[in-house]
């Protein structure tokens, strides 16, 4: 069901505060607001006393709206080079034009980015999941590549701080050209002008956007 743009904005704010920041959200000045009523009527939110909470469907919808907003910001800043302070306000208007379907195309065009220009995570879409599993090819861990294959570093898996430090110490950073030379008994690669040997655990943390072969 289609809801108004204002209602979408509120849905997004609600999702960010309750899901990302795990806050309790009070109604405050929004009490009696027609858009809140609209959300409740659409079965996306419930109001109990002074608290407003998302329903399960509301959570799914809110995630999608947030995803569209942040994708729109990425699109504006990366492809259209819109000035940073304009990205947010223009993005707010632009996101409503990204209907489902177009949204995934934009996502693919941008290379399935993981964060918005402000550094906040972009919720994953179905297209990102397919892409990550390799259906999209093109982006894969160094450990999954074949000897002789090359490309540019897309990003580094940064969960493990000590591993991240080691990878960074080798000068392996997003955008650097990288070529895998050998896979056994250790992974040997060339990055920039230097060669390094790493074990499998480290090679799994380096994600490469492979060049067309």
């Amino acid at each position: 069901m289609k809801i108004s743009e204002r209602a979408e904005e509120i849905l997004e704010t609600l999702w960010v505060r309750s899901e990302e920041k795990a806050e309790q959200v009070g109604l405050g000045v929004a009490r009696g607001n027609p858009e809140v009523e609209e959300l409740v009527k659409a079965g996306l939110a419930t109001v109990r006393g002074d608290r407003i909470a998302l329903t399960e469907r509301g959570r799914a919808e809110g995630e999608k709206v947030t995803r569209r907003h942040r994708l729109a910001e990425r699109f504006l800043s990366d492809l259209l080079h819109v000035k940073e302070r304009l990205v947010h306000p223009v993005g707010c208007r632009f996101e409503h034009l990204l209907v489902e379907g177009i949204e995934d195309n934009i996502c693919a065009l941008l290379g399935h980015p993981r964060t918005c220009p402000h550094g906040r995570p972009i919720p994953e879409g179905e297209c990102c999941r397919r892409f990550r599993e390799g259906a999209g090819k093109g982006v894969m861990a160094l450990a999954a590549m074949e000897a002789g294959q090359g490309g540019r570093v897309a990003y580094i898996q940064t969960r493990d701080r000590s591993r991240l430090q080691k990878i960074m110490a080798m000068g392996v950073l997003p955008g650097m050209p990288i070529t895998l030379i050998q896979t056994f008994p250790s992974y040997v690669f060339q990055v920039g002008q230097s060669q390094f040997a790493v074990d499998e655990r480290l090679a799994e943390g380096i994600i490469v956007r492979t060049a067309a072969r």
Binding site: S77, T115, I156, L164, L202
Partner: protein
Amino acid sequence: MYHVPGWDAIEASLDRIESLLARPYGMSGRAVALLLLQGDDEIAGIVGAAEPEALEKIRPIVAEAQARYDDPLPYIIAVRRQEEASRITRAVLSRGAAPRVGFAERLSRIMMNPLTGIPLVLLILYLGLYKFVGGFGAGVLVDLVEDAVFVRRVNPWTAALAERLLPWESARALIAGDYGIVTLGVRYAVAIILPIVATFFIAFAVIEDSGYLPRLAMLIDRLFKAIGLTGRAVIPMVLGLGCDTMATLVTRTLPTVRERLISTILLALAIPCSAQLGVILSLLDGHPLGLWVWVGVMGGVFILVGALSSRVLPGEAPSFYMEIPPLRLPRPANVLIKTYSRVRWYFLEIFPVFILASVVIWAGQMTGLFDRGVALLRHPVRWIGLPDDAAVAFLFGFFRRDYGAAGLFDIKRAGLLTGRQIVVACTTLALFLPCVAQFLITVRERGLRTAVALSAFVFVFSFSVGFLLNKVLVFWAVPL
């Protein structure tokens, strides 16, 4: 090109942090701010000590900056730095067509490919260690120096001089007796150990300067993971084949305490040093099967003890990363300078130990303590099937392992050892307690308790292995 999102906000945070810092820190305020933003504990400690109020105000700024990103700030800042570096290099650097894969690169890949690389390791070990150090150093050079210089000249001169100048029998024994300072201490140090160690350090410097070691490290990493180490540990291990004491010092280059401890254990137990190797190789000369038994037992102990200690010692499995520098032809001048400084270090370090050992043995003999020690050691020596005389060699082994091995050499020359006894004695002595110098360095690097526990373990373990090996060789009647 990748672009760091929201960098302006980071700049703003940097400005705010910089304006809060009132004290000088010996570097620009921006550098301090960058370090603080990256969560550097050391600088946070310094700022916290100098102006705690400022640090209190800075902490929320860092937290706020981090909250904008999914990835840790050090990563964000490194990416930004890389971006800037790339921008600068793009502006000033032009690159020709990619060079063809040259000879050095092809050789490098041959070294790193296990199919060709492993035979190459064996070839390098055979030529560098067995032929050059064992054959040339421990054979030709030792014979030359020992025979021509000591047996023919120095020893008779010293004996004659002592006879003339020293009226006391005990003083003569100290200088020129069987275990005298000149006849034993100086002779072993100069005539036996020096040529062996010097040839090893030459071989090691050539291998080191060629850039081969990181390639060996990447080949061996998987094997070393099984014993709780990474390929990186190959450097102290290979160096240990030269001098375990120096190698124990070098274990501090390993990243975790656990890796340092495991390699210290292996160096103390299963890596024979070049001085010892030289003597052991000449002991086993003429017993080719015995040499293989010895190599097999040492290798087995290395892997077994490594695997056990990596199970027993707490800590996470380490990860391996290492730069592979381009292969280069070593420069003779650099090789010589390196060898010289290492031999000098070695000599300054061991020469006093040798002299001290001579004095201690002399004092022990004078007081009868030495005889009691030999009598005590006779029991374990008998258990492993060796003649009583070998106990003397093992007591020497307390001072230096190679000292002990060299003592065995004299017994072999007298024709008192069978092939089986030689193999058992070589194995036990190679595993036996590290020399005094290595023990002292272990105390310094790992602490007294660890060093003492390690020595007790090595003592019991080496004789147990000798005992078992002897039983096995007798049982199967191996013709050695």
